[in-house]
């Protein structure tokens, strides 16, 4: 080897600079210019900002959600009080465990509403359902004991009155006297608030409750009998996740009405979007001649570019009246069905474009092999192409579901403006996103439980869509056929 190199060396004198150059080979790769280093770090910063966004979302949602579960809703303390006159009589005698009671009364309609309290004898009951001449009740409410009742016994309707102290509360008083029989609404360890002062109930004796004044650092003050007493209520995670009523005014924070409405509208949307989207994708990629495809595909993309408010307008002004004339008066003005249908139309371009990509990615060789075996085009599509593209199609469907769950304006305009727990799609029920928009659109004081509840719902929404997106990525990568 050495001989070789020696032989290759030129016989001409080698200049000094060349020798020096060979020894000090500049390392161009490592020594970048200083300005370029700065540019590189600036660009890295841009990339990192996206992490800040995610961190921001998680921190903000998490913090307000934890505040939500720590803060208290202050509800007016109320007790049911029987009316002076009886509104109905018992038709027949009832035993302590019967829940369906038949009544006799004047007029056609039972004079009690759902959630109304009624009193028979010494017992208080709550109405849960009404029939033509019967009511279904919960027995033994409000601390009373279920007992036998005789026929023709009077049934009194009850109204809920606010509880106020019977006499003024001086600054050094440690007991509060309540009107007759109202002491039953309080028990030890309850937190109550009168005006700006928070007190803790130590014990209850008849209609007098003994309290610890100035709890939680609030200032002790004098209160006169016109000030109402408020009871503290904390929301527990269990109640949030399993409750079926969302009514902040009475302290009910169960998320199921909102969640069920979201799921129902998304379900209706998917039932519309999947057949239409898949059908359109299959037609455009397998069957359509090129000229037809060049015209129809951009039209479908126009549908993807329309803002969702416009779809909401369409749902309220066109779809709802059409449904009402088709199905009759059962369809309420705000209903989940029209919102779901328009949601489906919104999702068709999404499913169609992703499925089309997946179908086009299937190699022609598979199709040609199938034709070679004698299959018709339709059989090839259904039995060869679709199964090969299934990962992309499933990913499209799950992505569309995630988009449907997070969709706001269509459901805010067309689906209803009050939370309701119902499976009937002809009724209006507010979704999670619609609720957030309605509450934030008004005046929201920053440290109230309503403000925090909005973020708790948002956290639920974020987790739901995150899980769906992760499943979609997982499905598309796991099931993907490697060609």
């Amino acid at each position: 080897m050495e001989t070789r190199i020696d032989a290759a060396q030129p016989s001409m004198p080698v200049s000094e600079s060349l020798i020096r150059a060979k020894e000090e080979v500049p390392n161009l790769k490592r020594k970048t210019r200083f300005g370029e280093e700065i540019i590189r770090y600036i660009l890295l910063l841009c990339g990192v900002i996206s992490i800040f966004t995610t961190i921001g979302i998680v921190v903000v949602l998490g913090r307000e959600t934890s505040l939500f579960f720590q803060s208290r809703a202050w509800l007016l303390a109320k007790a049911p009080v029987a009316a002076e006159e009886a509104s109905a009589q018992l038709d027949e005698s009832i035993s302590p465990d019967e829940t369906v009671i038949s009544l006799s009364f004047e007029g056609d309609r039972i004079p009690f509403n759902n959630r109304h309290f009624i009193q028979i004898g010494e017992e208080t009951m709550q109405v849960t359902d009404r029939g033509r001449r019967t009511v279904t009740v919960l027995r033994g409410q409000d601390g009373s004991i279920a007992s036998v009742h005789t026929p023709d016994e009077a049934v009194y309707g009850m109204t809920e009155v606010q509880i106020k102290p019977l006499e003024a509360i001086a600054t050094d008083a440690t007991t509060i006297t309540l009107p007759e029989s109202f002491g039953r609404e309080f028990e030890a360890e309850d937190l109550i608030q009168v005006d700006l002062e928070v007190m803790r109930v130590i014990g209850v004796a008849g209609d007098t409750i003994s309290v610890e004044r100035g709890y939680e650092g609030t200032t002790i003050a004098e209160h006169d009998p016109s000030h109402t007493i408020e009871l503290a209520k904390k929301v527990s995670i269990v109640e949030f996740v399993t409750g079926t009523e969302w009514q902040p005014q009475i302290g009910q924070f169960g998320i199921w009405p909102l969640l069920l409405s979201t799921l129902l509208t998304s379900l209706v949307g998917m039932l519309v979007a999947i057949p239409l989207g898949l059908g359109a994708a299959i037609y455009l990629s397998e069957y359509a001649p090129r000229r037809v495809r060049n015209i129809l595909k951009p039209v479908l993309e126009i549908l993807a570019g329309v803002p969702t408010v416009v779809f909401g307008f369409f749902a309220l002004t066109f779809v709802t009246p059409s449904l009402q004339s088709f199905f009759g008066p059962d369809v309420q003005f705000y209903n989940m069905l029209s919102a779901g249908l328009v949601l489906g139309i919104l999702l068709v371009p999404l499913i169609s474009s992703i499925s089309e990509d997946a179908i086009n990615a299937v190699p022609r060789a598979l199709r040609e092999a199938s034709y070679g075996l004698g299959a018709t085009r339709q059989e090839t599509t259904v039995k060869v192409v679709l199964p090969a593209a299934i990962s992309g199609i499933l990913a499209a469907i799950i992505l569309a579901t995630s988009r449907a769950v997070g969709e706001t304006m269509i459901v805010a305009i067309a689906a209803g403006s009050g939370p309701k727990f119902t499976f009937n799609v002809f009724e209006g029920a507010e979704t999670m996103t619609g609720h957030i928009v309605r509450i934030s659109g008004g005046d929201l004081s920053y440290n109230s439980i309503d403000y925090n509840s909005v973020f708790a719902i948002g956290m639920m929404l974020f987790l739901l869509t995150l899980v769906l997106n992760l499943i979609s990525t997982f499905v598309s990568s796991r099931l993907r056929e490697k060609y």
Partner: protein, 472 residues
């Protein structure tokens, strides 16, 4: 070999298979057509609501205020009619039409500063509360066109009310029924054709009456939002895309960034709104309300920022973070993942040989990127950005959560002003129980669709130019 299928049976099986194939093909075509039909129904519905017959009644008949037809009067004569009939409303009219500052300051600043227009020299230094109604009428006549003054006279003096409106289809095909209904219920009314989208609609302020409302503040708000969002999102997004495509190695940090961006693209837009509410509107209120730049003082100054005063809770009383800049930052965060993904695709589409040739000539990495890769990728990046911007223009939910005003009288005049946006007014008007707001909402939708059409056409033109370039 096993059983041969007889000839007749075989061809009938094949025929039935082909028939089934044809049926399925028809089904697929039907589903495609159904989707397109939905789009057609959507557009038909909007146009149907936006044009039609209206029944107009006047509380005060035009003949009672002027002998000549109102359309022939010039600005001074119309202003004189206002002066004679509604002198007490003149101040409010001047404020609504010509104010250059916020409502509470309008009465405290001299006219030359408070008015967006000409002020006679004799009145320039006075406050609006110090001048006579005749002077206010003179200011109106100087600055407003006869058309606009005619509208104001209609609205305030004649109290022109739209009693009822009908859709286009009804107006075209049920004319007789409409006329009988108009005679029965609104005997004094005129029946006229009205397109709810007209030049007045685009240039008038918002109003509580559907017949007079315009979308100018909302349109300007959307334009402001669009510009500021682009200014923030475009550099950040393209920068991140360049980093991820050109510089990033396969380290864990870069993988996390990529996964993160994919996930963020799928987060519902309302969550971004809540993020914006909590951070930009609440925590960053010294900056987003403009307090640090002197918006509470009334003029531009950095004094509150430098002295730290703008972080003081007492100083910030009355400052609101629900400004254009909060909305723009939120929308920028929203479309950032889309821009990044699009820009990455555009950069990836630049062929590697171009980069390698550049390196081969001795260029550094940044020189290669800035002089070779970026120019080649610019059409694709711009297309993606314009598409992302058109998505941002149509977003309503984040802006509602941030606190875009539903009713605002003043046009936005800076990044720190309260604002409204086109999709928000559409949402607000659609949810009104009054039927006529539906027509106004349809008109606003047409304006919004026009804006989107412009943006998307620009994007398509760019895309075609890009693909032509690549093929040549």
């Amino acid at each position: 070999m096993g059983n041969f299928i007889e000839d007749g049976v075989y061809s009938s099986i094949v025929a039935s298979r082909h028939r089934r194939g044809n049926i399925m093909r028809m089904l697929y075509l039907t589903s495609l057509l159904f989707a397109i039909l939905a789009l057609v129904a959507l557009l038909y519905n909007i146009v149907n609501e936006a044009v039609g017959l209206v029944a107009i009644t006047y509380t005060v008949q035009p003949e009672e205020v002027s002998d000549r037809p109102l359309e022939e009067l010039n600005a001074e004569e119309l202003a004189a009619i206002l002066l004679v009939n509604q002198p007490r409303q003149l101040l409010v009219t001047v404020r609504d039409e010509l104010s250059a500052v916020a409502t509470d300051q309008f009465t405290k600043i001299p006219l030359s500063l408070a008015i967006n227009g000409q002020v006679p020299d004799t009145l320039a230094e006075k406050l609006i509360t110090e001048i006579q109604p005749e002077d206010m009428a003179q200011i109106l006549a100087l600055n407003l066109s006869a058309d606009r003054l005619l509208q104001i006279v209609d609205q305030r003096v004649l109290v022109e009310t739209i009693a009822k409106s009908w859709t286009l289809m009804d107006s075209l095909f049920n004319r007789a029924a409409i006329e009988t209904e108009a005679e029965d219920s609104y005997p004094l009314a005129d029946l006229q054709w009205r397109s709810w989208v007209n030049s007045d609609f685009v240039s008038s302020p918002l109003s509580a009456t559907a017949g007079f409302t315009g979308v100018l503040p909302a349109l300007l708000g959307s334009v402001w939002l669009l510009t500021m969002t682009a200014m923030v999102a475009f550099p950040l997004g393209v920068g991140a895309a360049i980093y991820l495509e050109e510089y990033a190695s396969n380290s864990w940090l870069n993988k996390i960034i990529e996964i993160n961006i994919r996930n963020l693209a799928g987060v519902p837009s309302i969550i971004y709104g809540m993020l914006g509410l909590a951070i930009f509107v609440r925590v960053l209120v010294p900056f987003t309300s403009g307090a640090c730049m002197g918006s509470l003082e009334g003029y531009f100054t950095l004094q509150p920022l430098l002295s730290g005063q703008c972080f003081d809770g007492n100083y910030l009383q009355g400052a609101t973070g629900r400004t254009i800049i909060s909305g723009a930052l939120t929308l920028a965060l929203l479309i950032l993942p889309i821009i990044i993904v699009n820009a990455q695709e555009a950069l990836r589409a630049v062929p590697t040989p171009i980069r390698e040739a550049s390196y081969g000539l001795g260029a550094t990495q940044w020189q290669t990127i800035s002089r070779q890769v970026l120019p080649a990728a610019v059409p694709g990046i711009l297309t993606g950005t314009i598409l992302a911007m058109s998505r941002a223009v149509g977003e309503t939910a984040p802006l509602v959560v941030i606190g875009a005003a539903t009713f605002i009288t003043v046009n936005p005049n800076g990044p720190f002003s309260r604002f409204s946006a086109l999709p928000n007014v559409i949402y607000f008007w659609t949810s009104q129980p009054d039927d006529q707001f539906r027509n106004a909402a349809a008109a606003a939708i047409l304006v919004l669709l026009l804006v989107l059409l412009t943006m998307n056409s620009a994007a398509i033109l760019l895309r075609n130019r890009a693909s032509n370039r690549r093929m040549s």
